[in-house]
Symmetry: C2
Subunit: 275 residues, 2 copies
């Protein structure tokens, strides 16, 4: 069983490779070079079937997606005949949003005989189960996490984002296209008068998969940079859906959170608390 | 029947007063002075019942709320005995979010014999009915408005905000605590590479009331500044739920939109199009 990693942008692909017992075959989408990894192959969506053939030639039977990609711009001149046939399918899926697009891409790989493995499946150590990993949480934090989980579910159900920031019941920011770091930098820039007084609860970043997404791809991710950005935004900690979020370099995240006085909480999806 | 306007921040209270046949009694929350209006009375939440008494003394029987207020910080030393009795009710409502807080405030006024009138009721000219008011919309704009309406409904249902920005099906930003202007300035600051190419659709700002809110208070508002901010964010126009959004100075909004090449579209809540 040979595994190929389809590596997007960000730190996740390299973290995943480091967590695997042996180096996988590494492929990257043209224009989205992975950080700290040398791809064995670079491919374009316009030539998806030649790419599938190259994977088969390399003995690949299983594929994992990791890292961010944005909608690539397609160049009509580059299509091969087989890939051109599936353009209407792709276009229709893209018009329905990111979830639909990813489902369609998964379907294309599977139809070609390539099994999709989730990051959580091949590197379970990166996806912490339930528990308070660093620091302390208050009743206020529990209420904020419950409210944030309800908001993230609503946002996810309309395919908008995988996270939000809540302080004392108020939603300070919702994740959209520009991602978690941009959301946290928005929060850091909020006028102090807009935010409730910190002594009654500093608020938290919350992340969770979208309710309708295929959990084999595009799980939300956290890393040391998220901890630093949450601290810079004046938050009290980070909570996330246990078993549904990838943590890049958890030891480093824990060290940084302890140093900054933040909690890290892998929260059970079924946790109570007023939403 | 004497009307009192409870005036919050922003341009809405003055616009409302200008649209009324005669000047109402004007009250303002301490710390939130209305723009361009001299209040007849300034009140504090801690002394709500003395404020009610003052309204009755002035012959007020009907009250309209207009303009933004944020959660005021309460000073325990200022409470009168009657108002102190309702603190637990207020606290419980505030813990449940802005919608619940506003519902509770409305209930307190009504229990004291003061009727609540919506801005749309006393100044219907400020709340345009269905129609394309300026410019042209494409099929892409119609799809974006339908998707934005679905996102705004989801956000509103969890009491987060009353608007979002959608371009070619992608949610570029969702309105939270910091409001529409902050959301549009976030969009204006997005890296160009994150946004889809403008020639396929410039995207739109969409606003609508929250599904569960009392439409007598806290209707979303648009004004000339919204048009300027939408233009600065590179959007193609503004759409909103017809009959559910207050337009401050519609002639000025229309002139500015025409000048900037933006559409203004009061869209029927039941409009079709793929969400």
């Amino acid at each position: 069983m040979t595994l190929a990693l389809i590596a997007g942008a960000g730190a996740l692909p390299a973290a995943l490779v480091a967590a695997l017992p042996e180096r996988p075959f590494i492929a990257a989408l043209d224009g989205f070079p992975p950080e700290g990894l040398a791809p064995d192959l670079t491919f374009r969506i316009e030539r998806l079937y030649p790419f599938f053939a190259a994977l088969h030639d390399a003995g690949v039977t299983q594929v994992t997606f990791a890292g961010a990609v944005r909608r690539p711009r397609l160049d009509p001149a580059l299509f091969d005949a087989a890939t051109a046939q599936i353009v209407p399918r792709l276009m229709q899926a893209m018009a329905q949003g990111d979830d639909a697009t990813l489902r369609e891409v998964i379907a294309l790989f599977e139809e070609d005989g390539l099994a999709i493995a989730g990051a959580a499946e091949i590197a379970p150590a990166l996806v912490p189960g339930e528990g308070l990993l660093v620091g302390q949480i208050t009743a206020r934090d529990q209420q904020d996490a419950a409210r944030a989980a309800a908001i993230a579910e609503a946002l996810g159900r309309v395919d908008v984002g995988q996270g939000c920031v809540v302080q004392q019941g108020l939603c300070l920011a919702a994740e959209t296209l520009s991602g978690t770091d941009a959301m946290l930098s928005t929060v850091a820039g909020l006028p102090a008068a807009l935010r409730p007084p910190a002594q009654a609860g500093r608020g938290l970043l919350y992340k969770a998969p979208k309710p309708l997404q295929d959990r084999r791809i595009d799980l939300p991710a956290l890393g040391p940079a998220s901890v630093a950005a949450a601290a810079a935004a004046g938050l009290g900690g980070i909570a996330w859906e246990a078993g549904g979020v990838i943590c890049l370099d958890l030891p480093q995240m824990q060290a940084l959170a302890a140093e900054q006085g933040l909690f890290l909480w892998a929260r059970a999806a079924s946790s109570g608390g007023r939403a």
